[in-house]
Point group: C2
Chain length 171, copies 2
DNA sequence: GTCGTAATGACAATATATTGTCAATTTGCG
DNA sequence: CGCAAATTGACAATATATTGTCATTACGAC
């Protein structure tokens, strides 16, 4: 064991990290579902509304998917369902006949606002006593890992995150 | 902004962390699926076999679910499917007539071993250049967060992780 | 032993999410 | 302009996962 390389030990720790992410992901979705259930939302719907809320301009389904790292189809399904529930609506896209723009209805904005109101004290509770630096460092590490995974997937065709970042204010 | 409390900033960072976990979770499942597809496995199946591999004794479906933080039903479905594919088999449980024990078949062990062989260089590649301390600290932070979420969910009924840890060598 | 409670797996319903395919549309290059 | 390539949404199939319900089984208090 003491002859093991630093690389190998780091890789083992990565494996632990991966397994922990799987578990935590489940717990977070579960907690989010509970938190916003009474608002007619779910973690997934909330996430989609979050992408729309952050953008200054209406987004297409495909843009939301890219912003959230989900597949186009997953978002499409959620958006159509939320449209049926009156949380979002479609608007014609002057620049793209096929790709309609998704906007929140008044009900959608209200539900999202209520969700964020519920989330704030929940998040403060969860962070209580944790080091802000540790949190920030963890975010940075996870971002770095994801960047590597996406680089590998896309064949090194994306030198940075400009595409997603710029898209929030574009299309 | 400068009047914002440390708590509130930490909570904002936590929100970023949560969103990053959602994304990274998707990328990891995707990468895992690709890695073991040729072995007749998926990320989910791999995860289940991993729980079985780590335990010294055969586990029941419910134990695997607890170990991995999944629902009983998710594991049940995967196990039954893998049984149909000859990767695992059921054995009678002397201590519990209803809860059969799940064991890997020779094919299951071979597939799992092949998966781990593929995973090792992949993980080393992914960790290259990352600080082992950062990785370990991130694991610790995520574990702490999950513990809080589970404490909240279970109503504070579980003072520590003894239940899951002890279960690996029990039932 | 008896009885209430918890654990377990079966079954069903639903939500989430990816993959693959296709046609319509847009875009960019020549 | 013309045409190949990429983007986009629709549709379908499948995988993953939770929730809820139920009958059976195990366990503990008494």
């Amino acid at each position: 064991m003491s002859t093991e390389s630093t690389q190998a030990r780091a890789a083992e720790t990565l494996t632990e990290l991966i397994l922990e992410i799987f578990r935590l992901n489940g717990r977070l979705i579960e907690a989010g579902d509970q938190l916003v259930r009474s608002l007619g939302l779910t973690s997934a719907r909330w996430q989609v509304l979050g992408a729309m809320d952050r953008s200054a301009v209406p987004l297409s389904v495909a843009s939301i998917a890219r912003n959230k790292g989900l597949s186009r189809q997953a978002v499409q399904r959620l958006v159509k369902e939320m449209a049926k529930d009156g949380l979002v609506r479609f608007a014609a896209n002057p620049h793209h006949k096929r790709a309609q723009l998704v906007t929140m209805t008044e009900a959608g904005r209200a539900a999202f606002a209520a969700a964020m109101t519920k989330q704030a004290p929940w998040a403060e509770d969860l962070t209580r006593g944790l080091s802000p630096d540790d949190l920030a460092q963890a975010v940075a590490l996870l971002r770095a890992l994801r960047a590597r995974l996406e680089r590998a997937r896309d064949g090194g065709a994306r030198p940075d995150d400009e595409r997603c970042a710029g898209e929030a204010s574009g299309l």
